[in-house]
């Protein structure tokens, strides 16, 4: 369904702009009018990570006049496998600053706004209100639902994309003309059920496949070109190399954009997404030790059953000495509970402490109530005990 252009055209293009954008200007139907609309457009990219990298680079190159970058994180070495907007010399720098530098290098004719903070309920509406369109490249469900709800409340279109391992999805959510994220996925998965890219991995180049679709759709919505991805979900499978196009209707019962909305303002998104499940946080209360305490126990010769609850591929990369691998899924399903000794001090750990808390709840429920888990997981161990080990 074609839609009218979101942005009015700028008055004119400079000689320099005409030279730079000439390959756009000679496309029939896009032409000067399309480029002038891009010049007048204000686009905010949420996250300068995997999806934000290609999105920002192409939005900048395309001549989107005002480009906002919101990110609170710093560039880590493990980002460079896919976050191509950052380079080796940017490691340790704020992502928003590093991304802004790259964008300015690509196109000095556009305005770049750096928003170096974490998006939250207190700032999201004011920030989004300054832009015509939002590109969602965040990495967690809580922020994704917040971005959706803020866009619905402000009636802004946003171009959504998500990636995991070899799979990607993209759509344009615009409640005025079609469904929103909640019409597709009304609620997040139970906490701990769907790993993040940090936990499960992602093929780096997948970011380019999905990020480029996001830019493609942003340009179409801004300029009113073609048939935007409103009411359709693109599903990409990098292993099969297939793109599928699935229709998504507006859900009349949608909690925020339906006929009788129950969500009429921003909510507590950490709570909504159960960043740690209630069972896990109850289990962890009073049953959490630090990496240093674990080291003390080991050095004192305490009889420990140290269990790594991550996946085999993660265990291969780095592990705490003396540990045995039993993936969380096998503990939670009950399948591997018999492998956990009841006569030793059981200590669970994972990468950062979320999955081990979930496993701890299952171990406690199985009657091993003295079991503990390690706060911050193997990352805390590397940080506090053995910085020579590889972090991932």
């Amino acid at each position: 369904m074609p839609l009218p252009p979101l942005v009015e055209p700028a008055e004119s293009l400079s000689v320099e702009e005409v030279r730079r954008y000439s390959r756009h200007l000679i496309i029939p139907d896009f032409a000067m009018a399309g480029q002038k609309r891009l010049k007048n457009a204000k686009v905010l990219c949420v996250g300068a990570g995997g999806l934000g990298s290609p999105a920002l680079l192409y939005l900048a190159a395309a001549g989107v006049g005002t480009l906002g970058i919101v990110d609170f994180d710093v560039v880590d070495e493990s980002n460079l496998q896919r976050q191509v907007i950052h380079g080796v010399s940017d490691v340790g720098r704020a992502k928003a600053q590093s991304a802004a530098n790259s964008v300015r290098e690509i196109n000095p004719l556009i305005q770049v706004n750096v928003h170096e903070f974490a998006l939250d309920n207190d700032n999201v509406l004011d920030l989004f209100a300054q832009y015509d369109l939002i590109v969602d490249g965040t990495d967690n469900f809580a922020t994704r639902y917040m971005v959706n709800d803020a866009c619905v409340l402000l009636n802004k279109p946003y171009v959504w994309g998500s990636i995991y391992r070899y799979d990607g999805q993209a759509s344009v959510f615009w409640s005025e003309h079609g469904p929103c994220y909640r019409c597709l996925y009304p609620e997040p998965p139970p906490p701990g059920m769907v790993p993040s890219c940090a936990e499960g991995g992602v093929l780096g180049v997948l970011c380019a496949s999905i990020g480029s679709v996001q830019v493609n759709e942003a340009i179409k919505v801004l300029t009113g070109t073609g048939d935007p991805l409103v009411g359709r979900l693109m599903v990409f499978d990098a292993l099969e190399m297939s793109w599928r196009d699935i229709k998504v209707r507006k859900d009349p019962n949608c909690a925020i954009c339906g006929e009788n909305p129950t969500v009429t303002e921003l909510i507590d998104y950490d709570d909504f997404c159960g960043v740690v499940s209630e069972e896990a946080s109850m289990a962890a209360a009073g049953h959490t030790i630090t990496a240093s305490e674990l080291k003390e126990w080991q050095d004192a010769g305490k009889d420990l059953a140290l269990i790594d609850v991550r996946e085999p591929a993660e265990y291969e990369i780095v592990k705490i000495p003396g540990s045995t691998l039993i993936p969380k899924g096998d503990i939670v399903s009950g399948e591997a509970l018999s492998q956990i000794p009841a006569d030793k001090q059981v200590v669970l750990y994972c990468k950062a402490g979320v999955r081990s808390a979930e496993a701890l709840a299952a171990v406690h429920a199985a009657g091993i109530t003295s079991a503990v888990h390690v706060q911050g997981g193997v990352l805390a161990w590397i940080n506090q005990i053995d910085p020579a080990l590889p972090s991932y």
Binding site: G49, G137, S162, Y164, Q169, C183, P189, V194, N253
Partner: protein, 66 residues
């Protein structure tokens, strides 16, 4: 009745619903999943809808990565 569920043929009762097909894959409504029948997402409130012979049912999963 036979339907195609995520690419494989599965047998269901003749009066099976979208929710019944999803349950074969241990999927419950809403929590991070969507179901498409014949290329169109079925909103959560309509998972009680009856399926028809040879319907293509696809479970879509939300991922958070970006």
């Amino acid at each position: 009745m036979n339907v195609n569920l995520n690419g494989a043929t599965r047998s269901l009762m003749d009066d099976a619903t979208v929710a019944d097909a999803a349950a074969l894959l241990d999927v419950r409504p809403g929590r991070g999943v969507a179901v498409a029948v014949n290329g169109e997402v079925v909103p959560r409130g309509e998972w009680g809808r009856r399926l028809r012979e040879a319907d293509h049912v696809e479970i879509l999963r939300a991922s958070q990565g970006g």
